[in-house]
Symmetry: C2
Subunit: 462 residues, 2 copies
């Protein structure tokens, strides 16, 4: 198609969209720019049009317009993607879900809720206040539930409460031809056919647009304890985690920070943690006695592995300060090198190989020219590296990232534990999945034969 | 194809199979008969040939032979299917996996293992003795792990440890053209592409043959408590379950039996339980104090809802006797009517509707001409009905089953919580999934265009 013909198609599409969206469909430059990127250093790519639907029905009509003019469709939530998942690589229509942010249904007895895809994690948690329930999955960023489902997000509490894979009971999805389907049910389990819910969770919008999500909720713990413990070595910290899980201590969070990150966090969040490999623990339980039992056992295990003593955060304010600091590690790391680009990468390995993987990675980082920090959801074997880069160091960082993924693969792990593939990690999927990648392609072709659904992400299409 | 031509094809296929399997490929009548049915009352359907492979590679070669001659392939494990999943509806090759029963890899640190599909649940549990770990998923029958993965099985412990959906980390699968793929990884979580593992879990062999399974294992609890409690009403029992889960009591099992089943169990297993709606509880924990705390809280909740007092099973022998009785409910129910057929059906609803669903079902059963009992994994909202039938009552039972599924659907539930679809429940999928069923069909067509993989199961193919 010539440029002029494409332009005319886009104009016609906008006109069709305005018929039912009014000024909630736009080609305004500033809006397009805002929707051209997430939070990563990946190069922005602008959509031609941006829409702000209010309902599944409107999303379906938008997708029908995209089909009519052969335009790509890219779902957009909070824009916190780290692998370029929301970038409109081939232009088209960015569907901003943020005006679809209602809780449609809440059942305290069933401990589940159905929400629109554009509600953010903190909006949902707020809506659950005074119900005795909450939604624990917490990737750090205030992402939308639709975005979290699409990237199979997890975060600090996955070690106890699972990932989005485990906490989505059902979905409403708009398919490439505009058809609306409902997957799963409100039953806690089912053996009635293929698990379509899990097919869309983690598909990053490449198979359809998620518009509603039925979520499993969790009871707020009756009692809670939080502690910090510094270690002499990475190995000692990881060994503590392995033992704690094997003994069934059941922590709600076990987070790791390397010494450089602790230093950065101390400066950024005004804490005074020992500048050592450090674990943050949180325990949830039925009673203070139960929580204390688990926490004391973890403390004993830490001491056996070179832990330098638990520091207990006994006040709500102290606990909040600590977890807020943990949530801000991305900014704390960036502040180590003001004005830098930050490449945040994410691998996950079997926990038996986690210490090896982190120690080798730390040694690797000692040989590169840029500063970098390590933070990990170590109960899951998952860790991230923040590479703080001047523009001329991007290539070197990419080479580091290749080595890191190769290392994770050689240890039986995965190239991304929770950030998703986007387009940043497509190149690693062949090594990770082998022949199974062909099956992913076949499924993509079946569900999206024209390759309009978030094209260029997750699986290459030819 | 004429009958003679088909016969000749089958003879040639057998000859090809014998080239690499020797006498582990057979057309012997008795073997075919054994492989023509599971444990249900569904009409048997014999395969033409039965194979006993030793490896994934042999399964791949068998599937290649099936492709060469256009013959169906039906995986067969322990033969405990309740919905006709293993019946060879269109003849073809039954692949008996029971000689593939090795533990290929075990990691205590990672709490995972890779096993061949034909290992049974109790074989696996035995192999894990003295490791401090176990595999908790327990559908009652001593099914194979491959069969359990294929039906997305669960059972008594799912309320704490999840179903096969949650406990399979990865699979080796032979596709319809004989290609071998590996899904998932040994990492605890991943966002690297489509969740193919969950696509095959619950697909009942209709998309490929599962040959190896990587499983999540669990730590044996340090402490354990088991109790029985009779209730005045079904509602009181269910209300206790809801409150216990909401308060985070976290039982490892909560099983329900209706009064008629308790009566049957008393006779069959020589127990003396009160003939009332009854809950069986099991609690797992870090210490006796922790377990007791949870159990005492459950006891208080039960008392509030008409519970007639907890009876504690304090000895290992007493606990074993109780759970063995629970496991034998199928036989206990059948013994109520010697020589009967037994239709066992299985629905799952949101727990807020469970009491309504069970009470309405009990009332429905009061109006039919056959005796029936109810047992449930009530923590999940899942229950089964055993209908004890004379041959002339099968139609009446089928009508009851239709009403039961309709009731479950109207309450937001599913037509099968854990038994699978097989061919017994195909007719309910349209009502349950609507337009999404078309997507399941499209996926089936993509992965198995010739409809050779367990044809006639889960999704109809035209």
């Amino acid at each position: 198609m010539t440029r002029a013909a494409l332009r005319s198609e886009i104009d016609q599409a906008l006109s069709d969209l305005r018929d039912f969206l009014g000024d909630r469909a736009t080609a305004a430059e500033a809006v397009r720019e805002h929707h051209g990127h997430g939070e990563s250093s990946h190069k922005p790519a602008l959509p031609d049009l941006v829409c702000f639907p209010h309902s599944t029905q409107e999303v379906s009509r938008i997708v029908q317009v995209s089909a009519r003019y052969g335009l790509p469709v890219v779902p957009f939530g909070a824009g916190t993607s780290l692998e370029g998942g929301v970038n409109s690589l081939r232009g088209g229509i960015s569907i901003d879900t943020r005006r679809m942010n209602r809780v449609l249904r809440l059942s305290v007895e069933d401990m589940d809720a159905t929400v629109e895809a554009g509600i953010s994690r903190t909006q949902l948690v707020k809506a659950l206040e005074n119900t005795g329930l909450t939604f624990f999955i917490d990737p750090g960023a205030d992402a939308t539930i639709g975005g979290m489902a699409s990237t199979r997000a997890s975060g600090t509490t996955a070690v106890k409460y699972g990932t989005m894979r485990d906490n989505v009971l059902g979905l409403t999805v708009v398919l490439a031809d505009g058809r609306v389907i409902h997957t799963g049910s409100r039953a806690r389990k089912s053996s009635a056919g293929y698990d379509l819910t899990r097919l869309f969770v983690g598909a990053e919008g490449t198979l359809g647009v998620i518009t509603e999500v039925t979520l499993r909720l969790h009871a707020l713990p009756e009692a809670l304890a939080v502690a910090v413990c510094a270690f002499d070595s990475i190995e000692g910290a990881v060994r503590t985690v392995i033992d704690a899980i094997q003994l069934g201590v059941g922590p709600a969070r076990i987070e790791f920070m390397d010494d450089r990150l602790v230093d950065a966090v101390n400066r950024y969040s005004k804490l005074e943690l020992a500048v050592k490999p450090t674990l943050l623990f949180e325990f949830h339980g039925l009673s203070h006695a139960g929580v204390e039992e688990a926490a004391r056992l973890a403390e004993r295990l830490a001491t056996e592995h070179g832990g330098l003593g638990f520091h207990w955060e006994t006040t709500p304010a102290g606990r909040e300060r600590l977890w807020e600091a943990r949530h801000h590690v991305y900014y704390a790391a960036r502040a180590l090198r003001p004005g830098c680009e930050c490449l945040t990468t994410d691998v996950c390995v079997p926990i038996s190989r986690l210490a090896d993987c982190m120690v080798e990675t730390r040694a690797d980082l000692d040989r590169v020219s840029f500063p970098a920090t390590i933070v990990g959801h170590v109960g899951d074997g998952n860790f991230h590296v923040q590479c703080l880069l001047a523009p001329e160091q991007e290539e070197e960082a990419e080479a580091f990232s290749d080595r890191l993924v190769k290392r994770a693969h050689s240890m039986g792990g995965t190239c991304t534990g929770e950030h998703g593939v986007g387009f940043g990690k497509i190149k690693y999927l062949k090594a990770e999945h082998g022949e199974a990648l062909e099956l992913m392609r076949a499924i993509k072709r079946t569900l999206d034969p024209e390759n309009r659904m978030n094209p260029g992400k997750v699986v290459e299409f030819d």
